[in-house]
Each structure stands twice: as C-alpha cells, then as structure tokens.
C-alpha cells in the first residue's frame, strides 16, 4: 500500500516535470497546440469521407462501424499518452547506454521508464475516439443498460494494457538486440486492424489479431457484447485475460532483459 502511494506520488511529480518542460519552450508549445488542432480537423474530415462511403460492413451498420473505430482509438490514445517512452527504449535509450540512469535509481526501472514521459499528441486519438463513440452510440439500436455502459468503461483500462503489453515485450527486445524500434513498430501497426470489425478480414488475419497479437480484443470483441449482447464471458473475459498475460510476459521479459543489458562505452 505504501508502495502504491509512493508510485502515485512519483507519477504525479514526473507528470508535473513534463508539463513544466513543455511550457519551458513557449513558442514550440503554442505551435504544437495549433498543429494539433489542424491535424485533428483533417483526420475528422478524412473519416467523414470514409464513413460517408460505407453503408454497412459485414453485417455492421455504419454507426456500429464508427463505434468500433472510435472505441479502438480510446485505449490506443491512453497508452500513447502515458506510456510513449517505451518507443524511446526501443530506438535509443538502450542503444546509447542511457538506461544506466534508471538502474542507479531506487525505483522500479519499468515503472520509472513508463511514467517519465507523456505524449500530448495522444490526446488527439483520445478525443477523436471519445467523440466517435459519443456520436455513433445514440444511433445504435442496442440495449443501453447500466451493465453495458459499465462494461464499456471497465474494459478500457484492460485493453489499454494490451497495447502497453505488446509495446513492452517488443521494446524489451532492445536489451538483447540493442535496438528494437522497428520491432515495436511492426507489432504496433497490427493495432490498425482493430479499427474495423474483425470479420471483414480473412481467416488468417482474424486468428492472428485475436490470439497472437490480440488487438481485435481491444475493440471488436468488447463491442460484440456492448452492442449486441453476445457472449459476455468470452468477449469481456478474453480482453482482461489477454491484458494480464501480455503485461505479465512483458514485465518478465523486461526484467530478464535488464540482466542482458550491456550499456555503452564511456
């Protein structure tokens, strides 16, 4: 309990540092915000055009497709916002020997790396995701009882950890390979499949994104229950199970990786 309190405290302090850091360069910060809104606007127009062309898809109405699309962006955005630093592990922290710093501090290295940086850009995905869900939900004829709304909210943290888990495992490859940015990228890109109903893909892709790199569990399967009331045990249980397995494996690989870490000459 004391441990968790301490972690939360450190998390809060690192977040504050990040905001201070962003504010340190005011010009860049302001331009960043303007750019951010421009990008979001163009994304919105792009989606509006795409969904304008789709009447329905594999038995899903356009509103349902938008809901799945939006729902896939929410966990992706949360992971991207809080845990973006894993990319740096894959691209340069290990390769340049900067990981030394984490090992000389009395904080769990994985936790330290995770909470050290935040990525403001991710708010784009998050806001867009929430907007798409809110816009599409009223047009879907589903039984919106309290349990389904609750299930939707409760499943989000778990499916977020599916993203984090996949990134953790692939980032840890850097401890052996020195650089694994492209490995993270390759696996992370599978999350694009999560944006559309899984049944539109062929069998092989379906199996891969359900059982191996399970991004279908981040949006499509929970939506099967939330929108259609199908099989809550599988459709909600699998995402929770997958997130636990991936995070568990990720943390294990990470700590094995630390033993193989070779630093860099200095």
């Amino acid at each position: 309990m004391k441990n968790i309190k301490r972690m939360l405290r450190i998390h809060r302090i690192f977040m504050a540092q990040e905001f201070k850091r962003m504010m340190e360069y005011k010009g860049d910060f302001i331009v960043g915000i303007i750019g951010f809104f421009l990008v979001q606007l163009s994304n919105l127009m792009f989606l509006w055009i795409i969904f304008g062309q789709i009447p329905d898809l594999a038995g899903w109405s356009v509103n349902e497709v938008v809901f799945i699309y939006g729902m896939s962006l929410i966990p992706k955005g949360i992971d991207h916002f809080f845990f973006d630093n894993l990319w740096s592990v894959g691209y340069f922290i290990v390769r340049k020997g900067d990981f030394d710093k984490y090992l000389t501090r009395p904080v769990n290295t994985y936790f330290h790396v995770l909470v050290e940086k935040i990525q403001i850009d991710a708010l784009g995905e998050l806001i867009m995701g929430i907007a798409l869900v809110c816009v599409s939900a009223p047009g879907i004829r589903a039984d919106w009882d309290a349990f389904r709304v609750l299930a939707f909210i409760a499943v989000i943290p778990f499916v977020t950890l599916i993203f984090t888990g996949v990134k953790t495992i692939t980032a840890s490859v850097a401890f052996w390979a020195k650089r694994s940015g492209n490995v993270i990228y390759m696996f992370y890109m599978f999350s694009d499949f999560a944006k559309y109903p899984t049944t539109v893909y062929n069998r092989l892709v379906q199996n891969v994104i359900t059982y191996i790199i399970p991004f279908a569990l981040t949006s499509y399967f929970p939506a099967l229950f939330i929108l259609k009331g199908e099989n809550p045990l599988f459709n909600l249980g699998m995402p929770v199970l997958a997130s636990a397995v991936l995070m568990g494996a990720g943390i294990m690989v990470w700590h094995k990786g630390i033993r193989a870490y070779e630093s860099a000459g200095s």
Binding site: D98, L103, T104, P106, S266
Partner: protein, 334 residues
C-alpha cells in the same frame, strides 16, 4: 565496505567484415566472438577510503564501475558493497550509493537545476528538513547558488559537473562512484571539484571510488590505487608503493656542446641495456636520458657521461607518477 571477488564480465561481439557488403553478410550469417572485458578482478575497499581506479582507455574501468553500481550483471564472480549485492537487491542498494558518470548527466536537461533536486528528493525519499540541510551543505561545498535557477542546458561543463555531483550526494550515500569526474574541465574547476570530494570524504566518511585519466586527481585524493589493463588487475597498492615497485626510472638531463651526443654515448650498447631500460631524447643542446636505475646504477651512468662528453648543467631526477604509468600502459600487462 566493498569486497570484489573474481569479478568477470564477458560481452558477445558481432564480427563484421568492413563495408556495406560485410554488414549485409552479417545480417544473414552473424558471426560473434566472446570478449572478456573484465577478467577475474578482486580487490577490497575500506570504509572512508578514496580508491583511485586507473587504467588506459578500454581497460575495463567503466565496466567494473558499472558492475559495482548494479548497471551490468557480472558474468561470474561477486561484489558485495556494504553487505549488499548490487544486482540482487538493486533498489535498496542504490539508495546507499551515489553515481556520477562524467560523460553523462542525470539532470533534467530542459528545466532549471532546482527542479532536478526536487524530483530526486522524492525518488530517494529524503525528508523535507534533511533535504533543506543537505542542500545548504551542498551549496556551500559545490557553490550551486549562482546557477541553481538556470536551465540545465545553459550550464557550463564545470557547473554541470558540480550539479551532477551534488545530485549524487543528495541522499547522503555511503559510497560514491565517480567515473571521470574531472574530464574536460579546466585546472581551477578541477581543483574545486577535488576539494569538494575530499571535504565530503573527510566530513562524512564517504567511501569514494574514482576513475580518472588525470593523475593529479589521484595524487591529490587517494592514498591507494588499483590499476587495471586489458581487464586484469596489474597493480594494487599505495602511490608510494607504485613508485618503489616501478619507479626505478630516473631521468638524466644535461646540456652539452657535442653535436651528436646521443650517437657518441650509445648508452644501450655500452651498458648492454634493452630498449625498455633506456631511452634518449635530444632537443637542441639538451639531452634527456631515461633509464632504469635497477639495471644500471646512477653513479655509473653519471661518470660514464661525464667522461665521454663535456657537459654543463647536469641533473638526475625521480620519475613522476605519470612517467611510471606511461611506461606501464605502453607495455600492456606487466
């Protein structure tokens, strides 16, 4: 305080042929070889001691320091610091040590220096009142006041190094590891940093392990040195010990009117000495002869020289520590 027992670190190194072709080949058919960076090193350090850890570039100094600080996991052997194993109880262990790598910084680059100390206070769980006392102390010793409000990126190297040393001392560690703390600094700053290290060592009985290429650091700070080369310990003892063990080198300097004095004298031939025992340098009228006084007595070389050529202004002096170390490094393992 610190016991290092047969510590060993091996790295796997991929061997590539040169050029793009070699890189492509290695992608499909990787070849690797084992490199032993640290070869079964043992030594121990007492509480409150300042140990100078020296050796040429690539000798394995940093690798040893990184194993002692818990960054690298040893391939074999063990190290125990204050009863703890760095890789097994890393989190509780690192609370008791401070680490500075002169080539890196742990400060928050974009923010005013003060912010770094604020975060480190939380990370190391330093209580408010001891934090304030500590900051006042570090301020006094390292003179941080003038730049504590400036962003780290604007600090000069000397300021940054002082700031980094202060950061490593914030939690009052029992052991301080300094990997080249004076690298790239001017004489005045070097001197200030040495004084600060000495002050802290004296006042808090902090054990210090220091690697450096500047032997003045060692001469001013540490009574004892451990020298390693190619991953093996080649010397462990006091500086005085190093001088008696390897310091039989003397330097004979004289001025002469004879044009080709070196050729006339032919020390090596006359005393039948090897290349490692004698070397001659001529600079205008001045001739410098470095020789091993164990191989040929000073009196012999003096009288021989005086008999052979006419000489004005002659002197013989002890080699300094740099000379000894230059010799040791040059020869590789001793």
């Amino acid at each position: 305080m610190i016991t290092v027992d047969k510590l060993r670190k091996e790295f796997k190194k991929t061997v590539k042929e040169p050029g793009l072709k070699g890189s492509v080949k290695s992608l499909f058919k990787p070849k690797s070889e084992k490199v032993v960076a640290v070869r079964d090193i043992s030594f121990s350090v007492e509480e409150g001691e300042i140990l100078g850890f020296i050796g040429p570039n690539g000798a394995g100094k940093s690798t040893v320091i990184k194993m002692l600080t818990g960054i690298l996991t040893p391939t074999a052997g063990s190290c125990t610091i204050n009863g703890k194993n760095p890789t097994q109880n890393r989190q509780s262990y690192v609370k008791e040590i401070g680490v500075v790598f002169g080539q890196r910084t742990q400060l928050w680059w974009d923010l005013p220096l003060r912010e770094t100390y604020g975060v480190l206070k939380e990370i190391y769980e330093v209580p408010e009142d001891s934090y304030n006392r500590r900051m006042a102390f570090l301020n006094e010793v390292l003179e941080l006041e003038e730049f504590i409000a400036s962003p780290v990126r604007t600090l000069s190297l000397g300021q940054r190094m002082r700031a980094d040393i202060a950061a490593s001392l914030l939690h009052s560690p029992k052991v301080l590891f300094l990997d080249e703390p004076t690298i790239g600094l001017d004489v005045v700053v070097k001197d200030n940093i040495r004084k600060a290290i000495e002050y802290i060592n004296r006042h808090e009985k902090t054990t210090v392990i220091l690697t450096t290429h500047d032997l003045a650091d060692i001469e001013q700070l540490s009574k004892r040195i451990v020298m390693i080369d190619k991953g093996t310990k080649v010397f462990d003892g006091s500086i005085a010990g190093l001088k008696t063990q390897y310091g039989q080198i003397r330097e004979l300097t004289f001025e002469t009117g004879v044009a080709n004095a070196a050729a006339v004298l032919e020390y090596a031939k006359h005393f039948s000495l090897g290349e490692e025992d004698v070397s001659v340098e001529t600079e205008g009228n001045v001739v410098k002869v470095r020789f091993n006084s164990a191989a040929v007595p000073v009196s012999d070389i003096l009288s021989y020289t005086l008999n052979k050529v006419s000489v004005s202004d002659i002197s013989v002096k002890d080699a300094d520590i740099e000379e000894i170390i230059r010799r040791l490094y040059g020869q590789g393992a001793v």
